[in-house]
């Protein structure tokens, strides 16, 4: 019922691995954790690995756009990795694929 988050920092690349269901409840629990890690050390690139995410609604879109704006304000970039077909559908629908790389 919860979302697990694992964070790896290497050469100014911050990779965030998410596992579980990404809804408003989950987003409100992990947002600060990601932001703290963006502030802790210089980050040039934020990678969101979604291979473990089994569900996402527009609260996830809010999380992604919010982190995108933040990292860009530091001059960094953002990438989404390994979204399922289901996730890809909502990522495309909301135009996230126009803002950043998805692979």
């Amino acid at each position: 019922m919860t979302l697990d988050i694992t964070i790896k920092q290497e050469n100014q690349v911050l990779t965030v691995y998410l596992k579980g269901e990404l809804d408003h409840h989950a987003v409100s629990k992990i947002k600060d954790t990601i932001d703290l890690n963006i502030l802790k050390a210089p980050v040039k690139k934020l990678v969101l690995d979604m291979s473990g995410v089994t569900f996402m609604d527009s609260s996830g879109i809010g999380l992604i756009v919010g982190r995108f704006n933040r990292i860009r304000s530091f001059g960094g970039s953002m990438t989404i990795k390994n979204p399922s077909q289901t996730l890809l559908k909502i990522l495309k629908m909301s135009g996230i694929d126009q803002l950043m790389k998805i692979n």
């Binding site: 809804d23 408003h24 987003v27 609604d57 527009s58 609260s59 879109i61 999380l63 909502i90 909301s94």
Partner: protein
């Protein structure tokens, strides 16, 4: 069209109940043996409407959310209702990327998701009285 099954549920406007509402609807719809894609579309739309009731309708204060599901031989109707603050301008609210809670990093895409993932979406709302979302989805056969 005769309904073949129906249920009505009410639960607290707590964010833990977003996942609960999704499981309830999915378990009920499972009786029609929908495709995984149809089921995912339905769950996402339910999640949007329930989250909106929690965040916008009740502004994260205590309230009750009412959900009704009616199964037909090949489709489902879901009604999600709150007795919260209501929507001032429904047409504006439906505009993609429009949100009254940007400070909560809402994307303003909730209604767009419901419109694109369900077959019909109908919104009834009165300021100060609450909001009722009525959506239907036809299930495709594999």
């Amino acid at each position: 069209m005769q309904p073949i099954n129906r249920m009505k549920i009410e639960f607290d406007s707590k964010s833990t109940n977003e996942a609960f509402a999704r499981v309830v609807v999915a378990a009920f719809a499972a009786q029609l043996d929908p495709t995984l894609e149809d089921l995912a579309d339905l769950k996402t739309s339910v999640s949007e409407a329930v989250t909106n009731a929690i965040i916008h309708g009740y502004e994260q204060k205590t309230g009750t959310i009412y959900m009704e599901c009616i199964l037909y031989s090949n489709s489902i109707k879901v009604i999600i209702e709150d007795h919260g603050i209501g929507i001032e301008d429904i047409e504006k609210a439906k505009t993609p990327a429009f949100t009254t809670k940007p400070e909560l990093e809402r994307s303003g895409m909730g209604f767009s998701v419901m419109e694109s993932f369900m077959d019909t979406l109908h919104i009834e709302s009165e300021k100060g009285k609450g909001t009722k979302i009525i959506m239907t989805k036809r299930f495709s056969r594999d």
